[in-house]
Symmetry: C2
Subunit: 560 residues, 2 copies
């Protein structure tokens, strides 16, 4: 999988060192633009419509226009888009951080629902878009596209980008909805990349029964092998750090080891032709569950924020880049003689992906609602619309996959390929900007009391707004809320009071009363009795701030 | 300066994506080796002889041998050494972190001494080595070397690597010695690179009076312009973060902005043909003095450790790399027919740099001792030997400069050049391993009570050994000790007691009684009355843990 992208590292050492002051100018401009995006994103934080992605995209577009004008229509970007850069440097930190910061309890509680949405839903969406594109495009004059191309189109547009929605959803009020959208987003990313690679690696000229089974087998193998590899690497890091007591000598070694092991898991997946995305995601989950609790408190704060920052910068980098790249003149040349076709293709694809998503979100939700007994756990129709909406945006993964399929190192000479690239750009821009801008108002309209809750909440004002604690469901009973509590505790340590509030006994009762969570229950028993003694981690012991147990653990870890 | 190195960023986007599974294997191996170095370094922490650099170098050498055997003598490295990689990705974090973590008070107190050692000393060393090499090598048969080459040799071997010594010196016991060795190391790095670039950019075929003056003017301009640029970027970051209150919304934005601004300062220096090293060093100093105090507590912990970790990984990467590269067969081919010459050249250069260093350390120390009134501030003869010894190691900067001067993208066909490359490798390996291994015993012999102090100290056991507080001189009176106190405080917050001890009033008295520190005194007044209100930062107010002032500041920053 994606092994071609890794050649970059080798080649860059090997190449000629040509003096090129222009590239220094580009880099300066790019870093300055990144800083600009962060500052503007901060200033627009309270704005009802905007978010960081749209800001970066707009700034990228504007810069593209300026460069286009300065260069006399020759070029619109500072750097040429490369899926190498994307898959080797930008994607791993984003996905790893997603796994590292995920609310594990919510994630695993709704694991089956998430997998249904993320894997089955993505496959459904992929089928609808592929079949639809195949049926419609064959009647249109858009150049030669093969079966593999159509399947690739399905995979490309199956990759959603739920960043916008997640920035709007309230984690405290609608934990179920939040975890569904978030979890689906991650599993979806992985699924579509795995799907895309499976398509690229298979000979699809003559499909028969045998190949279809082989394909499914390959897909399942990739899924499980990648997951296991990620978990293994994470556990290894936990074991090494616990066994050798790194905190004794130096915080930096712990942080360095966590970073390197996370990256190693990604590279190992590439080595074994697995899915690096899935691997690094599960490595992140395991690291936050075990490794993170074995390191000193300084390391905990550092890793939590350093990983989040890397992911944040990588995301802005991506959107800035996509914005700049969208205006690249070469791709539009083929399309300019038939603008109608391009608009038609983009509209058809957009329609297809809306239908394709609706075709699985509503039926699957119905199915899930049937299986739930308690009314509070059912997904309301308004929530279903939000879930559907959350998956309409397309982002950098789609772009990267499209470049991988339809260009050779960023260039294309075929009409059909050029149209596909421009359509992808159009859809990414349109969905991120138009759908993205409408997200906040839509959610406020569909889930109206979220605003009320927000202003009435006192708990959510304690931490930084980005890292809210989960008082209602994740209270203090489980380890997942730790990272946030950590943060709060550090920020509030001079206050003298620990503002840990509400509903702790309630969450325990809720957990024990729910018979559907037996898998989770057995996992916890297994974790407590076997995994924790070997790999460390806080596990699921009740967190009582200031209790002797807590103190002992911490003193032990910090060797104070 | 070094602008050629930045072309990498552009080219790597532009190049062909060739499938190359071998490079994935290389990367996996390299990352795994990095992890191995960290683990082994940790295990050898208490060892009397070893340190992280030597470990990495040895592991690199061993790997090189293994690769050499596997590849049948064709190649010894996983990646080809590139000064691009070095100057763009590895050096900036190392130097920035040096500035960020430097004990500012000690640094500025001994500023003149440090500048004398770092700048004048380096120039002296450069002259001795250049002249010596010119005189001796002209009589030997080592191929054609021009005047520029001889001057470059001087600059290459003027770049010291005091990492080994710093790992051994005790910051608490010999603050003066530590700050001298550390400060000299940084200023020396910058000076030699500036010197090297000045040599490369000047036409040296006919030197006259005018050119010499021009050269000095250029050198001074580079020095001051780079410093100013770094300070300006640092102040800008402090101003923006203070003015816009980033902590209000998100810790990640603060951390991201600090990282990006630091990197921007380096790239800006490249843009204006200045010294990126000096710029990023002073940017680090300014950021730790102002910006660091304007961010939330989580961000402070994160930046402190994240920057240290990046620097740490970059250093290990370098030594691992140098070790692997040392066995590269191509360079040794030219030398193999006349091994005697190569050994002779290496020995001569080693002798020259020992003489060159002695030629300024002892006279300069004498000069400094004359100017000091108090006996405790004088540099004893044993300390002078340690300072002399600390600068004998040569490291990655020398390697990178040698590659830059004597090869074209890592390859050379000229006999003289090949001999220079192999001699550099020999000297780096020999000095790091032999001198490096002898450092700990030598210092224990010359400064015998350092061991006693270490074991008797209770204060140094509180934080992690790598980030000791400075109880005797830097107590609590100044802001420099903050980063460490911070760390301690975070690690100890469950302990309930704040272990801040000894000698706080003493350090104030010491400061006020010393008339030679008036520059420092006026700077503090200026800082308090003008800089701090604009750019934030804690300045030099006494730190009283738990006092209302402290609480207010923190509450204000964290918006709790």
């Amino acid at each position: 999988m994606l092994s071609q992208s890794s050649s970059l590292f080798y080649s860059k050492m090997d190449m000629l060192s040509t003096s090129d002051h222009a590239s220094v100018v580009s880099m300066n401009l790019f870093v300055a633009l990144l800083c600009g995006c962060i500052v503007i994103g901060h200033l627009l934080e309270e704005n009802r419509w905007m978010n960081e992605s749209i800001t970066a995209l707009l700034i990228g577009l504007c810069t593209g226009v300026v460069i286009l004008l300065i260069s006399g229509g020759k070029s619109s970007h500072l750097l040429v888009f490369s899926e190498d850069l994307f898959f080797i440097y930008l994607l791993p930190p984003i996905i790893f951080n997603a796994g590292f910061q995920v609310k594990k309890k919510q994630f695993f509680r709704n694991f089956i629902t998430i997998i249904m949405f993320g894997a089955i839903g993505t496959l459904g969406s992929f089928s609808v878009v592929s079949l639809g594109a195949m049926t419609i495009f064959k009647k249109m004059d858009i150049g030669s596209l093969e079966l593999g191309d159509y399947l690739a189109i399905g995979a490309i547009f199956a990759a959603t980008d739920s960043v916008c929605t997640l920035q709007v959803l309230n984690q405290d009020e609608t934990p179920l909805l939040y975890s569904l959208v978030f979890g689906e987003g991650v599993v979806n990313d992985a699924t579509s990349v795995v799907l895309f690679n499976a398509i690229q690696n298979f000979d699809l000229t003559n499909i028969d029964h045998r190949i279809a089974i082989q394909f499914s087998g390959n897909f399942l193998y990739l899924f499980f092998a990648s997951t296991m590899l990620g978990a293994m690497t994470g556990l290894l890091s936990a074991y090494v750090i616990k066994k050798l007591y790194f905190g004794r000598h130096s915080t930096d070694r712990e942080v360095a080891l966590m970073m390197l092991m996370a990256y190693l898991s990604y590279m190992l997946a590439e080595l074994f032709y697995l899915s690096g995305i899935l691997t690094v995601f599960f490595c992140g989950i395991v690291m936050s569950h075990y490794t993170w609790h074995n390191v000193t408190e300084s390391s905990r704060v550092t890793t939590k924020h350093a990983f989040a920052t890397l992911s944040f910068v990588a995301e802005i980098f991506l959107f800035l880049y996509v914005g700049m790249d969208a205006l690249d003149i070469e791709k539009w040349r083929f399309v300019s003689d038939s603008p109608g076709t391009s608009v038609a293709v983009s509209s058809i694809l957009l329609g297809l992906l809306m239908v394709g998503r609706a075709a699985f979100v509503f039926p699957l939700s119905l199915l899930i609602n049937f299986s739930k007994k308690s009314h509070s756990e059912k997904i309301t129709f308004n929530q279903q619309i939000v879930i559907w909406w959350a998956g309409l945006m397309r982002g950098a993964v789609s772009m990267a996959l499209a470049y991988n399929q339809f260009t050779r190192s960023g260039h294309t000479q075929l009409r059909g390929n050029a149209i596909m690239i421009t359509s992808t750009i159009t859809i990414v821009l349109f969905s991120t900007m138009v759908f993205g801008l409408l997200t906040k108002p839509l959610i406020l309209f569909l889930l109206p009391h979220s605003k009320h809750f927000n202003s009435a909440s006192t708990v959510s004002d304690l931490g930084s707004p980005k890292s809210l604690s989960l008082p209602l469901l994740d209270g203090g009973q489980d380890s997942e809320a730790d990272m946030d509590n950590q943060d709060e505790a550090v920020n509030n340590r001079y206050e003298g009071t620990h503002n840990r509030t509400i509903a702790r006994p309630g969450s325990l009762r809720m957990l024990l009363n729910a018979p559907t969570h037996t898998v989770h229950y057995y996992w916890r028993k297994f974790d407590d009795s076997f995994m924790r003694p070997v790999f460390g981690g806080r596990g699921f012991v009740p967190y009582v701030p200031g209790s002797p147990i807590e103190q002992n653990t911490d003193n032990l870890l910090d060797r104070t």
